[in-house]
């Protein structure tokens, strides 16, 4: 695989910079590098496939939050940002290039390996449109969702129905997969509305998980994967191939282990080697590989190399010395910057995507293997399981505290939050929980900042007292 950036490592101290500085720095990147950093490489450098562009490019097209965020200054991070931000366009380019585009909803990454094992097929997550209103600092998609009766009492994933209704955020999917059951209730409500509006959905039932009925759940789930496989065969006219599937699983396992490595490096002692938003982008690449698995692998590998080099060289950001576990992804990424500004670093996370962190087995039937991985899902089963995931992260990273960024209206947040808070407190660690404010609610956002600052102050004062 082409790794053009290898010869062009920026000799700069690791730090966080704003979109303005990236805009000017970008001019120093050699033209050949920009030219050769492309997605869908097998299409022989299609005119539109470049993606190494700075945040200012995406800001001009309406992603207004980018003007306020802080970005890591490495080339690998720029590549990651460019790759993630170009996903929307990539879906259209995929369609223009004759690919099938599959929408996967509600399972967060568990069915993707199966979908990608069919030729010329890519997938994406309409659920992830929940970031769009925050990136654009806009209520457009939420207002659209409100037309369907999904208002502020529903999780931010309601933006997905806006995407379907507006028809301007992704091409019409060739297939909509709706995973429902023991997962997010709000997304289930969103999917129901999508179905009612006329977009056909292939329903995939996620059973409840408990230790008593694990084998039953696994068998049931394997059956759901089989049904989905049949649907994909019907759609593509191509028979499921175990060897193609195994090829994809090899790559997916490689991606998952790269992400794991990045997470380990992020928690390393010494200076904080990377920003929390970049790491969130890395972790979320496990969902649908930003619609290009091969390029995604290259992007994350590059990122891992950069992280490794920094950790080995004991390089990182200064002044971010309080290790925090972030629980539930931040719908508004600026909250992560706030934490960093206050001297915190995200050393670990529980982003409700535990189902895409373990290796997919290759020594059993594909459907069983997928079922088994999926049964590790963060949102399945008891909240105590998720609380334990948080405690494991605390243990792994030797964190100083945990932050839970909930979502007002989300069905699982209110239940889980109190259980996680209790579990973390029992470990003797401070924990802060808040509901993320809607885009543009400056007052609420400043209140969150206030709480975060108080939280960080209390950790810092306790720490200095004990040290003293």
């Amino acid at each position: 695989m082409l790794r053009p950036h290898k010869n062009c490592h920026q000799k700069m101290r690791a730090r966080q910079i704003d979109y303005r500085e990236w805009h000017h720095l970008f001019r120093q990147i050699p033209e050949e590098l920009v030219e050769s950093t492309r997605y869908y490489r097998h299409l022989n450098d299609a005119e539109w496939s470049k993606y190494l562009f700075p945040p200012s490019t995406h800001a001009v097209y309406g992603n207004r939050l980018l003007r306020k965020l802080k970005f890591d200054n490495s080339l690998a991070s720029l590549r990651l940002w460019g790759f993630a931000m170009s996903e929307g366009e990539r879906l259209y380019r995929a369609r223009q290039s004759g690919y099938r585009v599959i929408a996967e909803m509600g399972d967060l990454g568990a069915v993707t390996p199966l979908v990608h094992s069919f030729p010329d097929t890519i997938s994406f997550y309409p659920d992830c449109l929940w970031w769009t209103p925050f990136l654009m600092e806009s209520h457009v998609l939420f207002n659209e969702a409100a037309e369907f009766g999904l208002g502020e009492d529903c999780c931010f994933v309601r933006a997905a129905i806006g995407g379907y209704s507006k028809r301007a955020y992704f091409p019409k999917p060739d297939l909509n997969i709706g995973v429902t059951g023991a997962t997010c209730d709000d997304m289930a409500a969103v999917m129901s509305e999508i179905a009612l509006s006329g977009d056909e959905i292939h329903w995939f039932e996620l059973p409840h998980r408990s230790e008593d009925n694990f084998q039953y759940s696994k068998k049931f789930l394997a059956g759901e994967h089989k049904k989905l496989c049949n649907k994909m065969e019907e759609l593509t006219g191509v028979k499921f191939s175990e060897s193609r599937f195994n090829d994809v699983v090899d790559k997916v396992n490689r991606l998952r282990s790269l992400i794991k490595e990045c997470k380990e490096l992020t928690a390393a002692d010494g200076l904080n080697p990377i920003g929390g938003i970049e790491m969130m982008n890395v972790e979320f690449s496990a969902l649908s590989y930003y619609a290009d698995l091969d390029e995604c692998l290259s992007v994350i590998e590059d990122f891992r190399d950069m992280l490794k080099a920094r950790v080995n060289a004991k390089e990182g950001y200064t002044g971010q010395d309080i290790k925090i576990i972030w629980v539930t992804p931040a719908a508004d990424p600026i909250l992560i910057n706030y934490l960093e500004e206050l001297g915190g670093r995200i050393a670990g996370s529980e982003y409700v995507i535990n189902q895409v962190t373990s290796r997919i087995r290759k020594d059993c039937s594909p459907f069983e293997a997928l079922a088994e991985a999926q049964l590790q899902g963060s949102l399945m089963g008891s909240s105590a399981f998720r609380a334990q995931l948080v405690l494991d992260e605390i243990e792994r990273t030797k964190a100083d505290g945990a932050i839970i960024s909930g979502i007002f209206g989300s069905s699982h947040c209110p239940f889980e939050t109190s259980i996680i808070i209790k579990a973390v407190r029992e470990k003797g660690l401070p924990v802060l929980a808040f509901d993320t404010a809607q885009p543009g609610k400056v007052k609420l956002q400043s209140q969150i900042y206030n709480r975060m600052q108080a939280f960080m102050e209390s950790i810092r004062i306790s720490r200095s007292r004990y040290a003293g």
Partner: protein, 345 residues
Amino acid sequence: MPGEMNPRERWGLLLIDEIPDRPPVYPLVTSHAAAAYGCDLIQYCTDGEVLAEAQLYAQRLYQHEGLSVFTDVGIIAEAMGSKYHLREYEVPILDSPIIQNPEAVEDLRIPDPVQDGRLPVYLEAIDKLYTAAGDILPVFAFIPCPFTTSAGLRGTEEFLISTALAPENAHKLLEISLQAAVKFCDECILAGALPVLVDPLASGSVISRSTFSQFASPYTRRLIEHLHRYDLDIMLHICGDTSGMLDLIPATGADLFSMDKADISSAIAICGDKIRLAGNLPPHGLLEVSRIDMAQKAEEAVEKGITNPKGFVLSTGCEAPIKASPEKLHKIIEIGRKSHYDFKW
């Protein structure tokens, strides 16, 4: 209305070679916004907040699909030292160019967009517009191309003569004008606007094909190359008659050509496979006194324009006149809004 695309979404699809529900409707409502808003042009050209307020007011009034930050084509030349005469009810005009003799080119310096001339007016207006409505409406900053700026630095006649008699000097001037444009474009981008390049002096009504190819197009192309490096989709607007140079337009690298006096069907035939087109309702037809049937013109433009394989934007051939009739503007916008592509999702 639920499901209806907004301008940002519509333009967004167009820029990635997708067909939106209908072409964006974007007449060049620039100085006319001042008249609609009720301020004079001196205020409009010198106060970014007024410019932004006027643009927002006009957009709410007409519902066209983009915000335009444009005062006059002398904006960069003025920041480099040329004197422009600001007038209450007409656009600024060149009073005295900074370069009075050919050697003076050496003394020119690239202006600082944050403090020189009226460049900060643009930046303030862009920032305000982007902050107020950038999620729904694209903000376009109209930047004069190096050829037009050079004329503002040297005086139009002197500059055109120099292209024939002292081409080296003309190139020097063009080079520094290019650097000034690059720097200004960067600041406009950072403030939130997509640059639109305007080159009224490069019109076929003013210069020959060869002057265009030797002096205008290369610098415009380099400016566009700089912007393309950032993956920005660039609209080029040339006033006047460009029918004789349509084949030369794609060489500038522009992604969208905003055309004035040329036939849309001919443009599609000549360069429609390479470039998106915007145009080209006759601006003077928007005057109250005009007898041109603008509704018919708009219908014809849409009918022809939507056949362009690279996409089409219904626009005016040049700026809507300051004293454009609001009723006529409403009418052409209404016709544009009723048009539709064969959009299937």
